[in-house]
């Protein structure tokens, strides 16, 4: 797996908070990363009323451009790190220990996890960007509850995975 350079937590946190403000100031749009998948559903021919509604109207297609930009940022971050850029299916030693070693089973596992992320983000109205970074910044009640639920469920899930894979959690 590509090893990327890390900033100190407070520098990285400041950068993320400042980024959110910059996006607002430049474009008057809220930070968010999960709605774009609804826009993709709408533009790839889904006739479901939810995707044809106002939430995913064409004027919100800027999300698609934003999402397309993120891997460019990831690539630049990787190429400006000391180590080499590596294409790999490894997720680092912890996940590689906890997930099935069989590639097909691992792919299925990751797909199911993705299903939960996609379904859950739409049911909750946002993800770790829109709810946890932006929503909690605004001290919005729904976002604080959603973020607490994200963390509690993730902690229980990973602790359970560690337990079943015989790791010392």
């Amino acid at each position: 797996m590509t090893e990327t350079l890390l900033w100190l937590p407070w520098i990285a946190g400041t950068a993320i908070g400042a980024y959110m403000l910059l996006q607002y100031w430049l474009t008057n749009t809220p930070l968010g990363c999960s709605s774009v998948f609804g826009n993709v559903c709408a533009r790839t021919g889904s006739n479901l009323s939810y995707f044809q509604g106002e939430n995913f109207a064409q004027k919100t297609d800027w999300r698609i451009w934003f999402a397309l930009g993120t891997p460019i940022g990831g690539l630049i971050a990787a190429l400006t790190s000391p180590g080499p850029w590596l294409a790999s299916l490894s997720m680092g030693s912890l996940y590689d220990q906890m997930l099935p070693a069989n590639t097909l089973l691992k792919a299925l596992w990751l797909f199911v996890g993705g299903l939960l992320i996609g379904f859950g983000a739409r049911a909750a109205g946002g993800c770790t960007s829109g709810h946890t970074i932006l929503g909690v910044s605004l001290l919005n009640r729904a976002s604080i509850v959603a973020s607490a639920c994200f963390f509690v469920a993730a902690v229980i899930t990973v602790q359970t995975m560690a337990l079943f894979s015989g790791m010392q959690a």
């Binding site: 993320i16 908070g17 992320i117 996609g118 379904f119 602790q159």
Partner: protein, 138 residues
């Protein structure tokens, strides 16, 4: 400034920052949930403090977005019926895969291609939610 190129550049900047924060490393994410390394917790905490102070200042000074006249409206997301269950499902998925929607697309650029399986799942899960809503008549 809602030009596609602006959003492409903003996406690149956000992806770069997420990577430098360690958010795109599933190892660091797993360590957070196992309470072995709270690096990401500090990142999120500082981001929320900076974001909280920043949005308050921008609200009070009635700052308008570049090229616009009316002040930015910082609207919180509404409370919905499925919020708690949805957020819990999201958390399970986050734990199972070590990625969230923003880091997932970023990781493609880092060569972390396992994330492609998750991304197909996220798209399918999003569609499934739309289908679920239409089934219930919403």
């Amino acid at each position: 400034m809602r030009h596609p190129v602006v959003f492409l550049l903003l996406g690149a900047l956000f992806g770069f920052v997420l990577s430098r924060a360690g958010a795109t490393d599933p190892q660091i994410v797993a360590q957070l949930f196992l309470f072995q390394n709270v690096h990401l917790l500090w990142v999120i905490l500082v981001a929320v403090i900076v974001g909280g102070i920043g949005t308050q200042v921008m609200k009070r000074r009635q700052i308008a977005a570049l090229g616009e006249t009316s002040p930015i409206q910082f609207e919180g997301k509404p409370w919905t019926k499925g919020l708690v269950v949805g957020a819990l499902l999201f958390g399970v998925g986050w734990g199972l895969t070590g990625v969230c929607p923003g880091t997932a697309t970023t990781m493609i650029g880092e060569g972390k291609f396992f994330v492609l399986f998750t991304l197909v799942g996220v798209l399918a899960g999003t569609w499934l939610n739309g289908w679920w809503r239409s089934r219930k008549g919403g």
